[in-house]
């Protein structure tokens, strides 16, 4: 692990300790090691002496903003400290823009991020269980349960979205864990869509139908989504109104995902939490990243950049390129 | 756990068991398929209150109608194809052979659907389900019925049954309250009960109402005023949760033991046969182990009402 990352981790622990000691927050949400060292999970720290379990490394993929949304805080009026990466902060900004979380009850620690590892891709490279992932400079040392060890290059293991990250720095924070990273130049990038975009309309239909035929409707994508705030009253499974079919079949599944996509459009910065949480590995980014690309090209809009901005669907600009161009 | 001796009943059933119909209660004519409703026709609709209607339905299959019997307190699933089913108490008398009556308050999707029905329309019925009141055990005792609003629907069959068997029971008291006189269900019963000298009928409404010269007061308060003696008495209560809460407190104050108090519970139900999992109260399913529980039984269960 690089010096910068160790410094960030130390700073997260320090800020958490401070916030808890000062009574600024009831609990602090960060990341910690899971059931095996290769797995990192959300950590909820209530006591100062637990702060040392907080971690920062390229496995901290969870977007912790989801634990701030409606009906998640426990108790409901808890004052919460939370760590956000660049992409996570954009979902928080989206919630703040619509005053869906109370700024006054939040203490936000921004964490500059060099990129998160695509653990799923990494796992597929091994037949045995990956139980440890260690970071040594630019190398990632992977150990399996059977004792096999392999060194891989960090750069090659990054999530597709991280390899072309436009916002490595948090867009909103009270305190920063570590130095800000250089801000990339140029227009936003929407990786991984080329293949899909090259398809004919019929082929696109087929690709989506095939992908969503495997959906098991577990709703992980919706519940894990930080900007999907009507999650416990979701129209996708409401019977009143009964707008979306409850049968698990390709057509109904796609419909349900489309509803999700349209409903979070304008708030979703493609943080990828839905994609990573899907137990059957449906490429959900296809929908959300594509939607964001369209929003950028049509309206010049990117979700969750500044708290003061108005959400895209609450504004109208005569120059917006809508419809046929 | 698996080492525990398994009694003869503690086993899985087979198709043979079901076809014989020996050991299980069945809710459908077609042996062993408890999910399928029996078609029935609405023969009469009674507008009980502005938002409560009673439906009298008769099974289309005469044999089913003739063979139908139930325990007071048992429930049934009443449904409309295309909309769905919901659980309601069967509130006609068990001795009524011409029809089954269900009372429905307009609230959700299914109940709105039911309220749109007219006479001669078809419904699906799965009944009877669950466990009724132990009316045989109560013989020789005083009965105290305490009910509010639509809660009367859950107790009506039991009241009618015990009135038919009047000689088997000691004093019978019916305390029934609603928000306004307009919200009192079963006016035809009330008239009859009030005319009878062998039962004590007390009707109350929450607040004064134009034209109402009867009693005014909340059910729990009226209950405390009546102060029935707990000796050899069974109290049966049903109504809105908040009323039940205060009625139970009042009964406790009056000296009723948990074993003397019965209620009937409502939960969201789907299958109605103890499989789909949602109506549990700890290890008990309201649909098969209830809906009737004594307060003593409820005290042993997790508080997830």
């Amino acid at each position: 692990m690089s010096g910068a990352e160790i410094a960030r981790q130390d700073r997260i622990r320090e800020l958490a300790r401070q916030a808890l000691t000062e009574g600024k927050v009831d609990y602090f949400i960060g990341w910690k090691a899971g059931h095996v060292p290769s797995e990192v999970i959300p950590a909820f720290v209530r006591n100062v002496d637990e702060c040392d379990m907080l971690l920062w490394n390229p496995l901290c993929h969870h977007n912790l903003t989801t634990f701030l949304k409606r009906k998640m805080p426990d108790p409901p009026d808890a004052r919460i400290g939370v760590c956000v990466k660049g992409c996570d902060s954009r979902t928080l900004v989206a919630l703040l823009q619509e005053t869906l979380v109370d700024k006054e009850r939040l203490y936000v620690v921004g964490v500059p991020c060099d990129g998160i590892i695509d653990r799923r891709r990494l796992e597929k490279a091994f037949s045995d269980e990956v139980i440890d992932i260690a970071f040594q400079g630019e190398q990632v040392v992977v150990t399996t349960r059977g004792g096999e060890t392999k060194e891989l290059a960090y750069e090659e293991l990054l999530l597709e979205q991280c390899a072309s990250c436009d916002f490595p720095n948090p867009r909103y924070y009270d305190d920063l864990a570590g130095e800000l990273l250089p801000q990339p130049e140029g227009p936003p990038r929407f990786p991984g869509l080329e293949e899909y975009e090259a398809l004919s309309a019929e082929e696109k239909d087929r690709v989506l139908a095939d992908a969503f035929a495997t959906c098991i409707r577990c709703f992980a994508c919706i519940h894990v989504c930080p900007v999907c705030y009507c999650w416990d009253q979701c129209v996708n499974r409401s019977r009143r109104p009964a707008l979306v079919g409850q049968k698990v079949a390709a057509k109904e599944n796609l419909m349900f995902q489309m509803v999700h996509m349209f409903h979070v459009a304008g708030r979703c910065p493609s943080c990828g939490a839905c994609d990573r949480s899907c137990p059957v590995e449906i490429p959900l980014y296809l929908l959300h990243r594509k939607m964001n690309k369209e929003l950028f090209e049509m309206l010049g809009f990117q979700a969750g950049l500044n708290v003061e901005d108005k959400p895209v669907f609450q504004t109208f600009n005569i120059d917006d390129a809508l419809g046929e161009q | 756990m698996s080492d525990e001796a398994v009694s003869s009943e503690r086993r899985r059933l087979t198709f043979a068991d079901v076809e014989l119909g020996s050991s299980i209660a069945r809710a459908a004519r077609y042996a062993g398929n408890p999910y399928l409703p029996e078609t029935a026709t609405v023969v009469e609709i009674i507008q009980e209150t502005p938002n409560i209607k009673s439906f009298r339905v008769r099974f289309d299959d005469e044999q089913v109608q003739a063979g139908f019997s139930f325990q007071p307190g048992q429930v049934g699933q009443l449904g409309v194809l295309g909309i769905g089913e919901a659980t309601f108490a069967i509130n006609s008398s068990p001795s009524e052979k011409e029809y089954l009556q269900f009372s429905v308050m307009q609230a959700g999707e299914v109940t709105i659907g039911l309220h749109c029905l007219s006479e001669r329309d078809k419904v699906g019925v799965r009944a009877p389900m669950g466990r009724g009141f132990p009316v045989e055990e109560w013989k020789g005792k005083n009965l105290l019925y305490v009910m509010g609003g639509i809660g009367s629907a859950a107790l009506r069959a039991t009241i009618l049954y015990t009135l038919e068997q009047r000689a088997e029971y000691q004093d019978i008291t019916i305390l029934y309250g609603a928000r306004t006189p307009v919200d009192l269900t079963y006016q035809y019963d009330i008239d009859e009960w009030e005319a009878r000298s062998d039962i004590n009928t007390v009707i109350t409404v929450d607040a004064p109402f134009p034209g109402w010269d009867g009693r005014v007061g909340f059910v729990p308060a009226v209950l405390e005023e009546l102060a029935p003696a707990p000796a050899n008495t069974v109290a049966v209560t049903c109504g809105p949760p908040i009323m039940i809460k205060f009625v139970l407190q009042a009964l406790q104050k009056l000296g009723f033991a948990d074993e003397q108090v019965y209620t009937t519970l409502e939960k969201r139900m789907k299958c109605g046969i103890g499989i789909c999992g949602r109506c549990n109260l700890g290890p008990k399913y309201v649909c098969v182990d209830g809906p009737v529980f004594s307060l003593a039984e409820l005290r042993d269960l997790p508080d997830e009402l």
Binding site: G34, G245, K247, A273 | L81, G84, L117
Partner: protein
């Protein structure tokens, strides 16, 4: 015991598929292994430690139709002339067309629908679905692990009316026509805990035939009479003594790979004693209340029943549901007995280790560990059970 040479596996599958539909673990396009129909061009994936989902869907489909109905007529209730008289005319019209009005759907969606032709489910003959109208085609599932088979056996109690409860014909028709050929685990993972629940990577509960991978092929044991007749096939060779020895060694090696992360004794008591414990709030903190754990679980079985109408036909069907769904227990009045996340969270573990055991004398968990692996936040059932066991100890300490 019999022996099946590795290269004879396709022969066996081809042979089996003449009499039944054969399901095996197959690597999908995206690399996820799921149970799928076997065909000669399908590669059986036996190297993966567990398929992503158990084959519970083969006996308990995620969506299953109970009833189908067809509308003979749809009429908008918004039309001013829509009266009881027009209803009557419509009824007569349907009857004169030779249809029977079986049910009339009132105008919730501003439409009056006259329904006829009620059939017994998508597989069914017309007539309110007797068992004969259900899917009774034979199927053989090969390649599931013993924990998955045990999960099926646990569901058998629920749908099989154990203890005098109701018997589910849809499930049982399928289950009776299903043969289970399990394969002993070769590489258990750190998340496996079957042994803590009295199971084993070579367990035989719910299994008809158990195959254990050894050098050059499989040691094959019939467990049930159904299994006995299956291993009569000529593709199975008589096992030499060393086959048995290798099988024992393979099973022992697998056993050694499975952790025992908690003591089962005391779990049920702990859950009872700790029902109101504030520790549930802490345990549920990172749960996002989705249904992944229950949908990848080999024994979670809760479901919902819905009616849906599309273009003149309607269906009543059941589909998987789960106790984490906030709408699962939501009542019409708006009241929800399990409104908060921790109450829903508590229900799953209590169901598996307290409610179900009380009702069915066994457990509703086989220790496959999928819920730990595929939970988006890796909520760990082992941690929950350990914590709750300690609740009894704590109570005892106070007493």
């Amino acid at each position: 015991m019999k022996f099946l040479a590795r290269d004879q596996l396709p022969t066996l599958l081809a042979d089996l598929s003449t009499a039944a539909e054969v399901w095996v673990p197959v690597k999908q396009q995206n690399g996820v292994v799921q149970f799928d129909r076997w065909a000669p061009d399908v590669d059986v994936e036996l190297d993966v430690f567990l398929a992503r989902q158990s084959p519970k869907e083969n006996v308990f489909p995620q969506t299953e139709t109970y009833l189908e109905y067809r509308y003979l007529m749809v009429c908008s209730a918004q039309r001013p002339e829509f009266t009881d008289q027009t209803r009557e005319e419509l009824r007569q019209l349907v009857e004169s067309e030779g249809g029977e009005v079986v049910a009339e759907v009132p105008p919730v969606a501003q439409e009056l629908l006259l329904v006829a032709d009620v059939g017994g489910g998508s597989q069914g003959e017309p007539g309110l679905g007797s068992a004969a109208g259900m899917d009774d085609s034979a199927q053989i599932i090969l390649g599931l692990r013993p924990c998955d088979a045990r999960g099926l056996s646990q569901m058998d109690n629920v749908f099989g009316g154990y203890g005098g409860f109701y018997f589910d014909p849809y499930y049982n028709v399928r289950r009776n026509n299903t043969t289970i050929i399990a394969v002993t685990c070769r590489t258990p993972r750190s998340t496996c805990f079957c042994r803590a629940l009295g199971g084993s990577p070579a367990g035989t509960e719910g299994v008809d035939v158990l195959m254990t991978e050894i050098e050059g092929g499989f040691a094959v044991e019939a467990v049930t009479p159904k299994g006995e007749s299956l291993v009569e096939r000529s593709v199975f060779e008589k096992a030499q003594p060393e086959v048995e020895e290798s099988a024992v060694a393979a099973k022992q090696a697998a056993e050694a790979g499975v952790n025992v992360p908690f003591e089962l004794d005391g779990v049920r008591e702990g859950l009872k004693a700790g029902f109101d414990s504030p520790v549930w709030h802490d345990l549920a903190m990172r749960c996002i209340s989705c249904g992944t754990c229950t949908y990848v679980c080999p024994s979670c079985y809760c479901f919902n029943i819905n009616d849906e109408i599309v273009e003149g036909t309607g269906e009543r069907f059941r589909c998987w549901d789960n106790c984490f769904n906030p709408m699962y227990t939501l009542e019409t009045s708006g009241h929800n007995p399990r409104e908060s996340k921790h109450a829903r969270f508590r229900n799953r573990f209590s169901h598996k280790f307290w409610y179900y055991p009380d009702k069915y004398d066994s457990l509703l968990c086989s220790g496959c560990g999928r819920c730990i692996m595929y939970c988006p936040t890796h909520v760990d059932i082992r941690e929950v059970l350990r914590t709750m066991s300690a609740e009894t100890t704590a109570e005892k300490g106070e007493a």
